[in-house]
Amino acid sequence: MTELLRTEAMSVVYGGLHAVNGLDLRVDEGRLVGLIGPNGAGKTSFIDGISGFTRTQGAIHFRGRRVDREPAHRRARLGLGRTWQSLELFEDLTVRENLQVGAERQTVGGFLLDLVRPGRQRDQTDVDWALDVLGIAHLADRLPTEISHGQRKLVGAGRTLAARPALICMDEPAAGLDTTESEQFGRRLRRIVDAGVSILLVDHDMGLVMGVCDEVYVIEFGTRIAHGTPAQVVADEKVRAAYLGTKAAS
């Protein structure tokens, strides 16, 4: 299998806190990889780190090149997409426009042409594909404020997907979905993978993660405590301890 993303001893440090502590993680092409861990384990920090939104130590390789010095937008253009735990949609743009921002790349000539002919036809296939895969085509002309929470989550994923990334890191995309919605969402994830986009899935919905992922990483306090197929991970003593531990603490 071809390697897509690989981190080597990657750390994210806030002040004195090691939110991610020397993590090695690898995502291969065509795989759906889960990343789970208790609250505060460092999952979001890890995604922030690889996508360029927080400073990191260690190495990040993406598509065979080292990207840990690249600014965020350039990593996105290389095909490293991400979604946000807290949605962060562009509230002033319609759903379609949200996706267009993700899909389209501006050039100097394009900018000048825009000033004269802004409405000219642009290639919409990626946007339409993303709308379609996520089942939100009927919402294309709505504003994010006008749709339900679950739909907003899909728009957030769609915006990243429309850029046709090689890898999409999803930060708790299923939070707030009910069981049926989450099952349906799981099937959408598989379709996305089938279309050639790898996924790094962070979620607390164990049903979803264990159901759809090919392999799963479990982290706690920023370090990896288990890695394997869902079945292996579920059977792991350390994983059970970690989850029971947080249960006892909370």
Binding site: L32, T44, F53, T54, R55, D68, P71, A72, H73, A76, R82, W84, E88, F90, D92, L93, E97, Q100, V101, G102, E104, R105, Q106, F111, D114, L115, P118, R122, D132, G135, A137, H138, R159, T160, A163, E172, A174, A175, G176, T180, E181, E183, Q184, R187, R190, R191, D194, H204, D205, M206, G207, M210, G211, C213, D214, P230, Y243, T246, K247, S250
Partner: protein, 807 residues
């Protein structure tokens, strides 16, 4: 932080500290430098700046507002005190008399003798007042004013976007200044001396200082220590800090967050007012312009103190106040000092705060906000122009403005219309920068002015023919805009407002007040083609039609302005509809998410500054050609504030808003009508502008045009027959079931639009057909999901919603 290569923390404090220490060493080493830096006047100015800065810090800590009107409060308090002492009158703001329109209408009907009762202008306490009663009364007034600011302006705005808060404080600044100008005109007012100290020199060894000056310096130092103790050592301070974290924090300590904020507002207006009064007394004079501009060094000092530290703020404020006399001395005596036309460049002392701001922001700012840092909040909605508006808007505006403008309007109205047109251009530049991409610039007329002077120089001294100088002027503006954009890459919100304000104030002095550039007393002449000169009183024949009636301004000027407005209007409307416009709005609503979507945030910001400065530059060039003579007063920083105010009033996020704003600007059509029909004096422009700005920010952040748009939409919705019911919130599962065919169970909405039928579907019916075959053949979701869940999901899996929404 996108770039991991930020300077290390040690370097970030070490280098600036070294620079400051080195500068101080040079100053101390040279006798005449020392004498001029540690001068009495410098200390007094430093004390005032420090007091204003302390007030700014206090309100920031209490309510998160950077009060740009802080310095205006000092000026206002000094006026209140001076008037009480001189005449025993407490003057009141000249709020518009609600009966005035009746009077105007009656006058219009021909009865000039009719007059409605006058609005009270002051409360009289008899004759001239002694020091203490006047001081106490003036401070009580300050306290009340602080309370009003809190209750009427900033409390309603406490959850509003930063932009609304900046706008409101600019509104207060304009209002206070306008009230004073209206009551006392712009001339200097004499203020009596303090009774208990005088101008006797005190020798402090290193330097000499008068008793009065020593007194204000000591007073400020005492106040700074008191504030430090209050905020750092008392329960009150603890509660303020807790409230800043979250509103409940203060409640736990037994304080109401609202009362705390009110207390900090009162505290800051009283501290600022007190020093305003004393320093005016020491200087024996107060005027409406000098003190309000001190907001720039004051906010700079507050910035150095991180808007929290009273100690660093006070130190920086004294430094910024004291460098003024030193820089003046250097300009007069040192050969290396930059010269323009043989004279020292004016206003270098104003470059100092600008440099400090840029340095502090560059060192502390971040190219992308980190997680947890709140975004700018919702800004007014920015509608994309509808096709019919694009098709008919430009020609419509042209016809509506042109025919009356050229053939029917009186010279005064024609003048107003032309001012409106140039105003629209400046407002358009603000729409791009603030409306589209959410960056606050308070320096738009600086860009316009730079362009105007370029036009004057090229057209007159270098013989460039019309319209080439317009392009050159716009290019100069673009360069300035891009320069300003560079610090903007690392700062946002109110910090950017501060930086641009400092830039505007510096440009006013360094460029516009530079007699080498501004052409001295007569202004800089613009060589204008005859047809365009507004002073031209000739009539012109076109296709057998006579244009012009032998009066100024020349109607062809109006045509010229109109062409520019329509062209730029289309440019801005097109920008909004284009990919660049979408990227700008994306950045406006969420910089991090925009970067994650692959948008080069820095490049688009620079582009926006460039486009905005270009538009402002064209505006400046048009103003230059229209008047034939460039004078600084059209481009000073208060004009930037004024345009910002009216652009916001009109509607900051759309071309329609800019047109509305242009109708409202000072000297524009709106005020010309008010002036001609109702006899409203000119000073009311800023008064109403400031007041309107505050009211708009508080009640109607969408602006006039935005409000009209939402009202219209609501009306249309009411008139239209009820639309088919909206899809249920669980559209997903419903449509899934509707359209699910065994072949493609995962594409829901191809055929079934959600509105087709409210057929109740059982959601659980959806997943029955098995998922499309997947190569990795995971176990069926349902089964493995529940199986795994029973093992692992003990804590985390059981509460997915809570975990997800935690942040």
């Amino acid at each position: 932080m996108t770039r991991p290569r930020t300077p290390s923390a040690r370097l970030r404090t070490g280098v600036p500290a070294l620079v400051v220490v080195a500068l101080l060493a040079v100053i101390l080493a040279k006798g005449d430098y020392r004498a001029n830096f540690f001068s009495g006047g410098g200390f007094a100015l430093g004390a005032l700046v420090a007091a204003i800065a302390l007030g700014v810090v206090v309100t920031y800590r209490g309510s998160g507002v950077v009060n740009l009107a802080g310095a205006a409060v000092a000026m206002y308090a000094a006026y209140v005190y001076a008037d009480l002492r001189a005449h025993g009158d407490l003057f009141l703001p000249p709020l518009p008399n609600p009966l005035a329109p009746i009077e105007g209408l009656v006058h219009l009907a021909g009865d000039d003798s009719f007059a409605v009762p006058h609005w009270p202008t002051s409360v009289s306490f008899g004759t001239a007042m002694g020091f203490w009663p006047a001081l106490v009364l003036a401070l009580v007034f300050c306290a009340l004013f602080g309370l009003v600011l809190h209750v009427a302006v900033f409390r309603p705005l406490r959850h509003a976007p930063v932009l609304a808060k900046v706008v409101a404080s600019v509104g207060v600044l304009l209002f206070l200044q306008a009230v004073v100008v209206r009551r006392f005109s712009t001339t200097t007012q004499v203020v009596g001396p303090l009774p208990f100290v005088d101008k006797t020199q005190v020798d402090l060894g290193l330097f000499k200082i008068t008793q009065e000056q020593l007194f204000v310096v000591c007073l400020v130092l005492v106040l700074a220590v008191a504030l430090w103790a209050l905020f750092g050592r008392s329960r009150f301070g603890l509660a303020v800090r807790a409230a800043a974290e979250n509103e409940k924090g203060a409640t736990v300590l037994g304080f109401s967050a609202d009362r705390l904020a009110a207390a900090t507002w009162v505290l800051s207006t009283v501290v600022t007012g007190l020093l305003g009064i004393f320093v005016a007394s020491v200087n024996s004079a107060v005027d409406p312009n000098t003190m309000p501009a001190l907001i720039v060094p004051a906010v700079t000092a507050a910035l150095v103190g991180g808007f929290t530290s009273f100690g660093w703020t006070t130190l920086a404020a004294f430094g910024l106040g004291m460098q003024v006399s030193l820089v003046t001395f250097l300009g007069a005596n040192e050969s290396w000092f930059p010269k323009a036309g043989g004279l020292p460049v004016p206003g270098v002392d104003l470059l100092v705060p600008l440099v400090v701001i840029v340095a502090v922001l560059a060192l502390r700012g971040q190219s992308l906000p980190t997680r947890g840092v709140l975004g700018p909040g919702r800004l007014p909605f920015s509608p994309s122009a509808r096709p019919w508006a694009l098709r008919y808007g430009g020609p419509g505006l042209a016809v509506v403005a042109l025919i009356p403008g050229v053939f029917f309007l009186s010279p005064a109205m024609r003048d107003g219309l032309t001012n409106t047109l140039t105003g629209i251009v400046i407002c358009l530049s603000i729409v791009v920068l603030t409306g589209f991409i959410g960056q606050i610039s308070l320096a738009q007329t600086s860009f316009a002015g730079l362009s105007a002077y370029t036009v004057a120089s090229l057209s007159t001294h270098h013989g460039w023919p019309f319209p080439l100088p317009i392009l050159a002027g716009a290019a100069v503006a673009v360069v300035a805009g891009v320069l300003v954009a560079l610090p903007a890459l690392r700062v946002r919100g109110v910090h950017l407002a501060i930086a641009t304000l400092a830039f505007a104030v510096a440009v006013d002095k360094v460029v516009f007040a530079n007699s080498w550039i501004n052409g001295g007393f007569d202004g800089a002449t613009v060589t204008t083609p005859d047809l365009l000169r507004s002073q031209d009183t000739a009539t012109h024949e076109f296709l057998g039609v006579t244009i012009g009636d032998g009066t100024q301004p020349n109607p062809l000027t109006l045509v010229f302005c109109l062409v520019v407005v329509v062209a730029l209007g289309y440019l801005v409307a097109n920008l909004r509809r284009s990919l660049t416009g979408r990227q700008m709005l994306a950045i406006r609503s969420n910089e991090r998410a925009a970067a994650a979507a692959g948008v080069n945030v820095a490049a688009v910001k620079v582009l926006a500054f460039g486009v905005s400065a270009f538009i402002a530059g064209v505006g400046g060039a048009v103003i230059a050609y229209r008047t034939g003579n460039v004078t600084p007063d059209k481009f000073l920083y208060d004009k930037s504030l004024m345009f910002f105010a009216f652009a916001y009033l009109g509607g900051i996020a759309s071309v329609t808003g800019a047109v509305t704003g242009g109708l409202l600007v000072g000297g524009g059509l709106g005020f010309t009508v008010l002036n001609q029909v109702f006899g409203l004096p000119d000073e009311f422009v800023l008064l109403l502008g400031g007041l309107g700005l505050v009211v708009t920010a508080v009640l109607n952040p969408e602006g006039v045009a935005g409000k009209a748009r939402t009202d219209l939409l609501a009306l249309r919705r009411r008139l239209r027959p009820p639309a088919p019911a909206d899809p249920p919130t669980s559209t997903d599962s419903a449509t899934m079931a509707d359209s699910s065919t065994p072949a493609e169970p995962l594409i829901p909405a191809d055929t079934a639009t959600p509105t087709t039928g409210p057929t109740p579907t059982v959601p659980s019916a959806a997943p029955t057909p098995n998922a499309a075959p997947t190569p990795n053949a995971a176990p069926t979701p349902v089964a493995s999901g529940s199986a795994a869940g029973s093992h692992v999901s003990g804590s985390a899996g059981a509460t997915p919603a809570v975990a997800g929404e935690a942040r």
